[in-house]
Subunit: 447 residues, 2 copies
Amino acid sequence: MKNILVLGAGRSSSSLIKYLLELFEKTSSTITVGDQSENLAKEKTKNHPNSRCIQFTLEDQALKEKEIAGADVVISMLPPSMHTVVARECLKQKKHLITASYVSPEMAALHEDAKKSGLLFLNEAGLDPGIDHMSAMQIIDKIKASGGEITSFKSYTGGLIAPESDDNPWHYKFTWNPRNVILAGQGTAKYIEGGKYRYIPYNRLFKQTRIIEAEGLIFEGYANRDSLSYIDHYGLNKIKTMLRGTLRIAPFCRAWSVFVSLGLTDDSFIIDNSEKLSYADIVEALLPFSSKNELTLKEKLAIFCNEETTSVVMDMIEWTGILSDEKHGVKNASPAKILQTLLEQKLILKPDDKDMIVMHHEFIYQVNNENHKIYSLLVVKGEDTVHTAMSKTVGIPVGICARLLIENKIKDRGVLIPVNKEIYEPVLKELKNSGINFKEKEEQLTS
Amino acid sequence: MKNILVLGAGRSSSSLIKYLLELFEKTSSTITVGDQSENLAKEKTKNHPNSRCIQFTLEDQALKEKEIAGADVVISMLPPSMHTVVARECLKQKKHLITASYVSPEMAALHEDAKKSGLLFLNEAGLDPGIDHMSAMQIIDKIKASGGEITSFKSYTGGLIAPESDDNPWHYKFTWNPRNVILAGQGTAKYIEGGKYRYIPYNRLFKQTRIIEAEGLIFEGYANRDSLSYIDHYGLNKIKTMLRGTLRIAPFCRAWSVFVSLGLTDDSFIIDNSEKLSYADIVEALLPFSSKNELTLKEKLAIFCNEETTSVVMDMIEWTGILSDEKHGVKNASPAKILQTLLEQKLILKPDDKDMIVMHHEFIYQVNNENHKIYSLLVVKGEDTVHTAMSKTVGIPVGICARLLIENKIKDRGVLIPVNKEIYEPVLKELKNSGINFKEKEEQLTS
């Protein structure tokens, strides 16, 4: 009889909880779900006999100690900044921990202590990071085993809308935090191409995209902030090209780039008297001043961004309502906040909408002086607005890792990410059973 | 017999000290010059009988009290962040204070206390801010007195190189802190044009310039960060267009814009292994990846920035050496730091070089249903590398204000800037005697 403590019952926990409850069906093992809102936890467990729901906050020291003491494995689906508080308690009470978040420097600092205590603190066990590492490492290890040398690895992931729910010209809806989508990519992206470091400043990020065709769709991929940090983890120290990025359905990036150039994604300053202005006023304020009053705002904007007034991109921009005389009414708003307010109304998920996760890897490797290319593609669609593709692909791998831990099938200890065969092999196998399955294609390149 | 305490003997203090010593010639009044380096202070006073030099730091509480106690007026030419420490001591000891810096919120908070104590803490009494306020207010008050209404005010100032010392294609040399020049304009510029607020994001700042012709030279003006804060101070609440900016000799801004687009002025990230890279490597790393190996770096850059390879702008870029294979050798350097390292070698003032200050105001006003335009132009050249135009135009107005204070010719009290006639009229008159003189031109506009 085991007990798994799941902290946080938000969106990504739905499919995790479902997976664990199905796993424990007809056993006496249980999960305890703790959330600030006990009701939210109950919505997710639906009073399943193998579940127990509690109101939980990290501030309640005694409760934290008691619940972690009673668990065999702890899963933190709390906001990333809270993981180390949980981790330190796990260390005291000698409990394993799993998260779906990036390893923070504070978490990394616990490596030796966790290892000495015989504990696994497994992070980056969700989708991205998570499934991306596992699926990439499976291919990397296979290529290495065949004596091949990987020269290029490009990997893109996108949280998108399924084609059957796609009813807008952006081919996009918010399937996660809208603010993060508005501010995505700010900072400088860095990657390696042709053996050299490359940097893309934010103002060019959505222009320097790559086209990827898959599933009959045309995607644009833009580079993520730091593509280099996994070179070591993946054991690819001689690689010439390595790029991790984000996917959108074309021509999202080309149109988004207009917002970026205009300054509409800028969160660093406040528009004066913003609540009194219409969306059109905001665009006008950001456009270079023109005395050509005979031009419409759409025409001025088309000239500014070097588009035809009738182009698809200009239609996408107009469709959002950003050129309209409607007032947004938000006080002390930055351009980014104003854009977010508008897009939240236009790009909202409807109750019957299904989301879609697409992950696309592309490897080039050399073996016997021949160049080969491997494509690997994952497409997952949501079941409904609770068991979304995002929830499934983040939650289920975390759940599988927890299962492997209580079944004593993982021997690695310390603060780790799932790049070792011992973990990724059983996880990917089990994911397949849940319909989370990569399609692989290999071709030989003529040189 | 009076004593003026001058804190800080840096570049801008040279002409201030010279002005005050000439003023006190054949009197028993004195100046005390305090600096971290007593030698630097002595270089400036040259052991003049009316001067006394001391080693001075704000940390030495007793010395600070003693020296301020012994002064009639205190002038702080220290870094801006230190002014309030001096101001609080002046408040205790009931001494007037003058600075050439912007009024910080901390300084502004002392207004009522200074006023109650019968003290003047006069800030923004240098060039920009300083002479710009005084010269603008003289014209504004004159227009208002004639019943005119000002509809537009554009004002630009530039710290430049004098034409006789201009021997490079940028028509520019560093006459002040190079780092500030490299990072100039970062953030979002805001101004008002045609009755509406306008915003210019940094990535377009050096593209949205205005051409200004004066003295046979063609200048480009780019907008300063905040042009709106002086609308109230100047009493221009109904103004439709107000813009404050910085002048460069054309086509500086067009060429600088290439650096900005490339990301070479970015100080927010570090180039990996920067010390091992050549300047050309850095440019290559920032350029969009191209597999066209038959193109030279200059050709790739020209395509990127939409210039002809043989254009003046491309020649300016190449002249800096940024396309060369030379290694810069700076460790952990941001692109901005690398650019600064390079330009500090290329755009350095030579011992015989003379700098030049240009200030250009342009007013449009309405009177009797007629539109009039007034241009006002200040050109000041440096005498040598000590008494530069910058030193003269910052230091002499501060010196004149000090003189007016010890002669009891200013009645205003509190934390102020020189926008009142009582101050600007005698200062501008006296500046004329020092060769700092505006030329004015007025024309009637056909509507």
